[in-house]
């Protein structure tokens, strides 16, 4: 009987030495103990495919395809251009520019634009200290007077060293970001006359 316990002890020691402890770092793919239907013959997003020549399960949309309800016939909203092909000024009429819209713009600006353009739009984002080329400030007359449609066009197609952000921001978000950029620009040109009377005492003026 003693031998049986010795063998058992040996097996336990061997198991622990081979399998180790919980939480140890490993580069080997996790073992699936009960693999029943863990991996099924179906495609998941961004997965690989042995069937398609380019090896991707995600299929690119063929040119000219329009998804149902997504015709994008509002040129101002989707291209930033007016009927005559010039950059449109102002915001598309289908959007309401309100506090919620500006909040959306701020949220998206802080995610997608802030790393280079900086929190106040002065072009001094964190990337500057890592070697990013000169990022223009929003606070000059060229960009203050630029039509909204041209800013939209820059977000969609990029400009200079800036690549397209069309895959990161949808149409509404792009316009919301533009509205927020306009707010940033306005914030830099504020005067004492812009302070509401009820808040003047907080700033020590009156």
């Amino acid at each position: 009987m003693r031998y049986a316990y010795l063998v058992l002890a040996f097996v336990v020691v061997a198991t622990v030495s081979i399998l180790g402890f919980r939480g140890s770092t490993s580069t080997k793919p996790p073992l699936e103990v009960f693999p029943d239907m863990d991996r099924q013959a179906k495609y998941k997003p961004q997965a690989a495919s042995a069937f398609f020549a380019d090896g991707r399960a995600d299929r690119p949309i063929p040119p000219g395809v329009v998804a149902r309800g997504d015709l994008r016939d509002d040129a101002h909203l989707y291209t930033g251009k007016a009927a005559d092909g010039s950059f449109a000024s102002g915001f598309p009429s289908s959007l309401s520019i309100d506090a919620r819209f500006l909040e959306l713009g701020r949220a998206r600006y802080n995610v997608s634009c802030l790393p280079c353009h900086g929190a106040v739009g002065d072009g001094n984002g964190i990337t500057k200290s890592y070697g990013m080329g000169a990022t223009p400030t929003y606070h000059d007359d060229r960009l203050r007077n630029m039509p909204e449609g041209e800013i939209y066009n820059t977000i969609v197609h990029g400009k200079g060293n800036m690549l397209s952000y069309a895959d990161k921001l949808n149409a509404e978000e792009r316009w919301a970001v533009i509205a927020y950029v306009r707010a940033l620009q306005r914030a830099q040109t504020g005067t004492l006359n812009d302070v509401p009377a009820s808040h003047k005492s907080e700033l020590g003026i009156q």
Partner: protein, 217 residues
């Protein structure tokens, strides 16, 4: 003729029963310890084709998670970024780094970089990122402090028990929606936050499913 078996043989049946009980105990303990995602999944840190450091990009630079993982608050999948996302900066920062060669190649050819998936739920689990991050569940709840990881490491078990712990008690996991991607966030005052969390869960009608069809179909 009277001594075929020694006297000690009388104890043998009992000894065998005790040994079998011990054996069953050891096997049960080993299975409990090893045959669970707490052992199989936690600690998985595969070698990626590009040595991308989340600690540098998300931690040191403070780039928001959603700068790269754009799909996370819009759909079921938290998308892995395209090479163009990397090139937004790396067309100017370290443009000739040999470590970034696969990125430049992918950007030029359009063929994706073959990133190795770290967090992978079974195919019968239908996890939706957007419903979680838009209802106050931070990335850190399931992925750990990725902003401190040089190499992404599987930190949480992502087992069904792990999901249900939170689905049964969402109030102790939610946080303000503007702090979702701030992985270092902790409530300033725990008692005040607990009250806020109760209200947040109630006001937003957060009723995480505990039925099978909530996550399986």
């Amino acid at each position: 003729m009277s001594h075929i078996f020694p006297k000690s043989a009388n104890k043998l049946p009992l000894q065998i029963i005790i040994f079998v009980l011990v054996l069953v105990g050891v096997v049960t303990a080993a299975t409990t310890y090893y045959a669970t995602p707490k052992y199989t999944r936690i600690g998985y840190a595969p070698v990626q084709p590009v040595p991308f450091s989340h600690a540098l990009h998300a931690g040191q630079l403070g780039i928001d998670c959603r700068y790269c993982h754009v799909g996370v608050d819009k759909g079921a999948t938290s998308t892995v970024p395209t090479a163009q996302t990397c090139m937004n900066c790396h067309n100017q920062i370290l443009p000739d780094s040999p470590a970034l060669a696969p990125v430049r190649e992918s950007f030029a050819s359009g063929d994706p970089i073959k990133w190795v998936k770290v967090h992978q739920v079974p195919d019968y689990v239908y996890f939706n990122h957007a419903v979680h991050v838009n209802r106050g569940i931070s990335c850190v709840e399931c992925h750990g402090k990725v902003n401190e990881m040089e190499v992404v490491r599987h930190e949480k078990p992502l087992s069904m028990g792990f999901c249900l712990d939170c689905h049964r008690d969402p109030a102790s996991h939610v946080r303000p929606l503007d702090q979702i991607t701030n992985l270092n966030w902790t409530p300033a005052q725990a008692s005040e936050h607990a009250k806020w969390a109760q209200d947040f869960v109630k006001n937003n009608h957060i009723t995480p499913p505990q039925s099978c069809t909530g996550c399986h179909r």
